[in-house]
């Protein structure tokens, strides 16, 4: 008897049911984010009133720390998980709305410089991660996933590449764990290094956008430094994200030529499918703001709306990071990722400092 292919009957989930399923987690994100905002306002004032020396900790860090505390102590109960996973949605909506604070001229000027830096960063990072993976005798497809994750845009790039090159689930879990662990580390070290080196907001923002892998962590690392640095980090990170389709396509073609992945049919459709659509939304809002579709007050309102969306994102970054789960994934891919990230961070810092002297941004 021929094996029957059983296709499970997937019951469509009603929109109302889906909404109810995500609601507890979204409320948890909002509660943690808002608690972070209240802590920023009150802890500083309390310390000042009692003549304590206490650093001014921004809501971004409070929200992440509260999320980390919950995730790594009591854990995130099942009922909240679907809603917590929406933090990526809030991140992307926040980035689109942030477009209202960029005039098209700024984007063309900074985008041109960042495009050049991104091209150098992607080429250098892929070459170095491939070399390092071979030195550590990692599996070839795991090397590809780590290279794409650290060169382009973290988890999204790894997921997109996994599908395109038929990589194992285990390899992608390894890569995602390494990228997330290093992203969490970057979140706390980048602002300290930036302050230690007295980097300006622009230079730091561009560096964070170039070197921090995951979009949420890059946005948070920028916002932890300053508002202006946060804006720049988002712009540069979005430029990096826009490259995802080209890098994944190149790897898909390479692995297909090795007979280890499906051939890519329509390349234009492939590129469009992998292209991050929120980059287009960001550009559209920026064009509208440039041509004064929004008044000054409305731009302020959109910027605040973007901040609220990021507030939920930062709470999600903390809640999503579980150090025990990351530890389970093994040391070698993490070691390759860590060495690679340090080299990429130093390399991109050199690029930014050089570009600052050359272009004077």
């Amino acid at each position: 008897m021929a094996d029957a292919v059983v296709i499970p009957q997937v019951q469509p989930v009603q929109p109302a049911l889906r909404f109810l399923r995500i609601l507890p987690g979204v409320l948890l994100l909002a509660a943690i984010g808002y608690a972070g905002k209240l802590l920023e306002q009150n802890v500083g004032a309390y310390a000042k009133a009692h003549h304590w020396v206490f650093p001014n900790i921004e809501y971004v860090l409070w929200a992440i720390l509260l999320g980390l505390l919950i995730s790594n102590t009591i854990g995130v109960p099942e009922i909240f998980r679907s809603g917590v996973a929406t933090y990526e949605f809030w991140l992307k909506a926040g980035i689109v709305l942030l477009g209202s604070r960029f005039l098209l001229g700024d984007i063309l000027k900074l985008g041109g410089v960042s495009l050049l830096l991104v091209a150098v960063e992607i080429t250098g990072a892929i070459a170095f991660m491939t070399f390092l993976g071979r030195v550590f005798h990692l599996k070839p497809k795991l090397i590809t996933l780590l290279a794409v994750g650290s060169a382009v845009c973290g988890v999204s790039a790894i997921i997109a590449t996994k599908g395109a090159i038929d990589a194992d689930d285990e390899d992608s879990s390894f890569s995602i764990a390494a990228i997330l662990a290093l992203g969490a580390f970057a979140l706390f070290t980048f602002p300290l290094i930036g302050h230690y080196l007295h980097l300006g907001d622009r230079a730091y923002g561009i560096w964070a956008g170039l070197a921090v892998d995951n979009t949420a962590e890059a946005t948070a690392a920028g916002a932890l430094y300053s508002d202006a640095a946060g804006k720049l980090a988002v712009l540069v990170k979005s430029t990096r994200n826009a490259m995802i389709g080209f890098v994944v396509l190149a790897y898909a073609i390479y692995w297909a030529s090795q007979g280890q992945a499906k051939a890519v049919g329509n390349k234009a459709a492939f590129l469009w499918q992998k292209f991050p659509k929120f980059v287009l939304g960001f550009l559209l809002i920026s064009v509208l703001a440039t041509y004064q579709f929004f008044s000054k007050d409305q731009v302020g309102a959109l910027a605040n709306l973007s901040r609220w969306a990021f507030l939920l994102t930062f709470a999600g970054v903390g809640l999503r990071t579980n150090f025990r789960d990351m530890k389970k994934q093994g040391l070698r891919p993490f070691a390759v990722g860590a060495i690679g990230e340090v080299v990429i961070a130093v390399f991109t810092l050199g690029l930014v400092v050089g570009a600052e002297k050359l272009f004077g941004f």
């Binding site: 029957a4 689109v96 659509k277 559209l284 309102a301 605040n304 709306l305 901040r307």
Partner: protein, 44 residues
């Protein structure tokens, strides 16, 4: 033409927006509501 017994029938997936596209749609909608004056002031 006979269809192999183990061939799965093509499944017509319902057309769905990606998370990315939903984020763009929701953000643009919010921007239009602000533009139309529905939300006059968003506090921070």
């Amino acid at each position: 033409m006979s269809v192999p017994e183990n061939a799965a029938a093509p499944v017509n997936k319902p057309w769905r927006l990606s998370l990315d596209s939903w984020a763009v749609v929701v953000a643009l909608l919010a921007a239009l509501l602000v533009r139309a004056g529905v939300f006059k002031h968003i506090p921070w």
